[in-house]
């Protein structure tokens, strides 16, 4: 049996984490959290989370950067905004979760084949190159990049049903003015930090 220290010492915390998350999320109210737990009790995904939303907010507030960014919680947030509209302290919790996802990507501390960030990344790539998403091609990329060929096979019966009802197409959707979208994306990226 391995004995690990269960308490994080202050020297391992990141004192600048709160300010960074406030900046990235555009939410200045994190500090005013009263730990009432409305977020955790409203969250449809809390039962699957390793750290419930209330605790995430407390940990952000106190600089537990590693623990927060490596949690599954941030990826399990489906952006339903229930916590956000109910929070008595007006903390934009969903926007905070988005900021934490971006931070985890920036610092490369998420599991590389974990399907949720893979889907986000592949969809944004597809849009950046074609201007539109095409469901079938997005799913193919998702299963390839998250290395789950069997999950793809399991989807075959559904694929057949969708094909039969005319709900699946092999077409790659794209916009006409791709050049404009590309120049816009380039301009936005250039000025960023």
């Amino acid at each position: 049996m391995k004995i690990d220290r269960k308490v994080t010492y202050e020297e391992h915390l990141d004192p600048g984490f709160l300010a960074e998350v406030e900046r990235m999320s555009g939410c200045r109210e994190i500090e005013t959290c009263i730990q009432c737990g409305t977020c955790s009790s409203s969250c449809p995904m809390a039962v699957y989370m390793d750290i419930p939303p209330r605790k995430i907010i407390a940990m952000v507030k106190h600089g537990f950067k590693d623990e927060v960014l490596k949690s599954f919680t941030i990826w399990l947030c489906p952006s339903c905004y229930t916590c956000q509209v109910r929070c008595p302290a007006q903390i934009k919790i969903t926007d905070v979760m988005y900021a934490l996802k971006r931070k985890a990507i920036e610092e490369k501390v998420y599991p590389s084949r974990f399907a949720i960030p893979v889907l986000d990344r592949e969809m944004s790539r597809l849009i950046a190159s074609n201007g539109r998403s095409s469901e079938l091609w997005l799913l193919l990329r998702l299963y390839l990049k998250s290395r789950r060929p069997f999950a793809m096979l399991k989807m075959a019966p559904l694929g057949l049903k969708l094909m039969k009802t005319g709900r699946m197409s092999l077409r790659r959707e794209k916009i006409k003015n791709k050049a404009q979208l590309r120049s816009l994306i380039k301009a936005v990226k250039e000025g960023a930090r």
């Binding site: 339903c80 509209v85 971006r102 969809m123 944004s124 849009i127 404009q180 120049s183 936005v188």
Partner: protein, 294 residues
């Protein structure tokens, strides 16, 4: 002149084409024919905000600018597009330095945007612009007594909606009641379907949608009415698996609200894309009686 540009989004051109097929004739018949926004791009949905928020706002800014140039407001039937366009619209109107930067990037790429476009959902337009009376006047085959569970999901009612309540919305119930249906008390009406998580973590997709279907069934609903392509898909595609996983027959037809309105207005099943349902609709049509003719 119609002041709305129709923003279909990727889903309504993909597996949710029956939403487009039904929303277009319904709007045509209430006297507000919809024209598609020329060369729109994908809104980016939840994915882009998880990767790069400035880019997420910028690509939506391009759509807003296209509508502004055509001097139109946007109608977005997909709840994801609706939220993303509204969120970006609000961000671009802000005084932050990143908002100013994106506005100037838009301008330099030939999509200048001044912030004049409003983004609306068809539910809002039908209830508040077209009005329940106009809708009632269009009814040919009232959905007499059809018990419907109105499912609003998340992103239409939270956090940007200005026409309904985020926890207890009623617009969908009101529209369905206007065409003769009997909306049931549906406590799960704004509970999340899991969004894109159903494609990434199967257990989550099955559990969340089981809860939604079970509650609708318990309230005696004959079908669910949805307003979002992803909700419709999530609720429908795994019903067989859900029955197997939870040992309970919670199967129910999951229709777009526009398909139900269309049926009441006397439009044909095929015209409304009802032939694309994965769940068999035979017993549903039987309940409609004469209302389900053709």
């Amino acid at each position: 002149m119609n002041r709305y540009a129709y923003f279909p989004g990727c889903s309504l051109k993909g597996n949710s084409r029956s939403y487009e097929e039904s929303i277009l004739p319904v709007f045509r018949d209430v006297g507000l024919p919809l024209e598609e926004l020329e060369d729109w791009n994908c809104c980016g949905a939840t994915a882009y905000f998880s990767v790069d928020d400035n880019l997420a706002v910028a690509i939506s800014g391009r759509n807003l600018s296209l509508a502004e140039r055509a001097n139109k407001d946007i109608i977005a039937p997909c709840a994801g597009c609706y939220l993303t366009l509204r969120k970006s619209n609000e961000f671009l109107a802000g005084k932050t330095t990143s908002a100013a930067k994106i506005r100037s990037d838009l301008k330099n790429s030939g999509c200048e945007y001044h912030g004049t476009v409003k983004v609306k959902h068809p539910l809002d337009v039908l209830k508040n612009d077209v009005g329940l009376e106009t809708l009632k006047a269009r009814v040919r085959r009232p959905l007499a007594g059809l018990k419907v569970a109105s499912y609003y999901g998340c992103q239409l009612v939270r956090p940007f909606t200005d026409f309904d309540d985020p926890d207890h919305p009623t617009a969908l119930d009101d529209l369905l009641a206007a065409v003769g249906a009997a909306p049931v008390e549906y406590g799960a009406k704004t509970r999340c379907c899991g969004g894109s998580l159903t494609g990434t973590i199967e257990e989550v997709g099955l559990r969340l949608n089981y809860i939604l279907l079970k509650e609708a069934k318990r309230q005696g609903a004959d079908c669910l009415a949805t307003i979002c392509p992803l909700c419709q898909f999530n609720l429908e595609f795994a019903q067989d698996k859900i029955v197997k996983a939870f040992g309970e027959d919670v199967r129910l037809p999951v229709l777009y609200f526009s398909q139900l309105l269309g049926l009441a207005m006397g439009l044909g099943r095929k015209e409304l894309g009802l032939t694309r349902s994965i769940v068999p609709l035979k017993s549903f049509y039987a309940k409609l009686g004469n209302g389900g003719a053709r």
